[in-house]
Amino acid sequence: MLERKKYIRIVIGLGVTLGVLIVAALCMGRFSMNPSDVMEVFTAKLSGGTPDESMETIVFKIRLPRVLAAVLIGAALSLSGTAYQSTFRNPLISPDLLGVSSGASLGAALAILLGGSLQITQGFAFVGGIIAVLLATSMPKLLRNSSNMTLVLSGIIVTGFMDALIGVIKLLSREQDQLASIVFWQMGSLSHVNTAQLLSILAPILVCLVVLFVLSWRLNILSFGEQEAQTVGINVTLLRGIIIVCASLLTASAVSVSGTIRWIGLIIPHFGRLICGSDNTKLIPTAALLGGAFMLVIDTLARTMTSIEIPLSILSGLVGAPLFAWLLFRQKAKVL
């Protein structure tokens, strides 16, 4: 058992780090600012004064929505991965492996093909993600085999099928504009995020976060196994249902804005466990903070490293894949 004091120190440490990162991210960009400038804009805005107009636009209209979206999406993906891993008792599961990301891409691609607006694309992506996870999680039930491998394989099957359908849509799309949008969407980016989009995912993500946090101790029991949970009086079907819905809502909300971003939902829960152990009552807040910080770093790098935006899935893959390899090496592949 992790001592309470140590845990509180971890959470405070992560919170402060995230705060510093947010301020740093607000300063960084093509038009770089001092932290004091950013603070000035904030205090002026809050006290009802008139800050420098161009600075205000950059901070409040351009950077802040994007920075907050990055934190929110990173937290959502990490929480989603944590919840899936615990409820399926499978440390190899992640939102992308369950096909959520591919399903969301398919939904978005379909909306782009049909010429839908940004909101419609977001909605389609959301529904696609949910359908994919339902397919992936119901397959082991039909096969009556609940081993770790079956679920991973189901995820691969669903992902493969969804990817094939995306291919079909790409073939059917107009080369000049639609195809480019679909490809861009699949690579993931926060470059077009606006306040309205941020607000549209804020509520579902916060609600799911609270629900998962409240149920986190029960999630621990579920992670020991269905029988163990049921024999201590837990309604396994109901609890697992709520948790899967929350985890799927989180990922679907995130990718509906950002496009597909792989790896975060897989590696952040593992890093969280490295820091604070497997106890979900502590892991859920830790993973949310860690994921938010990680995503913010990735997105800030994506928009500042070169003169053009680097798609998020490229950066998260470049960073995430080696990190996961290192984690496996460290744990001597115990997860298998």
């Binding site: 058992m1 891993q85 615990s86 008792r89 499978n90 440390p91 770790n148 409240v214 149920l215 101790w217 029960r218 621990n220 029991i221 992670s223 020991f224 196994g225 029988q227 163990e228 049921q230 024999t231 201590v232 009086g233 837990i234 309604n235 466990r273 152990g277 497997s278 106890d279 009552t281 997860v335």
Partner: protein
Amino acid sequence: MSIEISNLDFSYGTKQVLRNLNLSINPAETLTILGPNGSGKTTFLSLVAGLLAPSGGSIVYDGKPFKAMSLRKMAQLVGYVPQILMPAFDYSVLDYVVTGCAPQIGSLGRPRQKHYDTALEAIQLLGIEHLTEKSYRQISGGERQQVSIARVLAQSPTYILMDEPTSHLDYGNQIRVLKTIKQLKEKGFGVVFTTHNPDQALLIEGKTAIIDRQGNLVFGDSSEMIDEEYLSELFGTQMRIARIEKKGRKVCYAASLNNEETEEAERVEEAELAEEAEMAEEAERVEEVELVEEMGADI
């Protein structure tokens, strides 16, 4: 109050696993469930634990059928110690044991200090305090079995079910588990456990139920149920039961690894030997009595 099981049937799809079982399970008593592989021992336990619903018949406690009981009520009545499993994630022993308190904690709640105290008490009762802060994944199989029992003690149900608590354990740990079962019985718990070893039924006494390959169950006092002929047929191998006078208990064992004809010859020979031994014993006893009488006369 007993758990009354009557005319219990269970089928997986079209395959009938248990047929018309009738028995009662009492508090402060042990019930050993014996049977060959695939005879439905675990299925039977799952039914009593409320993990499966019967296809026919009923399981009733205090006039109330199990199906009418809430999951929480069920958990307060029956605790279940599953076969040793390796959890996917790492928890400390204390964090694991405290999950036994779940029936006493609200659906949205978390364990408080008093629940941790209950868990610590259960850990103490089993004498495994040294494991409290250890990682559940890194302790041995025997220790994990004791930890699982501590968890069910923290749950504090009236009945405790254990699915093959001695399998995968070395001999010393098997005996340790049996001792624990006996202690639990003495504390007033009704303990039901499945095993492959008929000798355990004799060792622990109490009641025994035997499930055969057809899914029929016979039930009675352990000393009567452990019968050479019946067990030999059940397990398809020659079984022997002998009395160890020194310990005053019977043991059950496989006769030998020879084929059946040599078996029979050996059996006859052994019976003769036993008779001879008995006669010798009788003679000794007579001698002793005479000796005592003589001494008495001297005094």
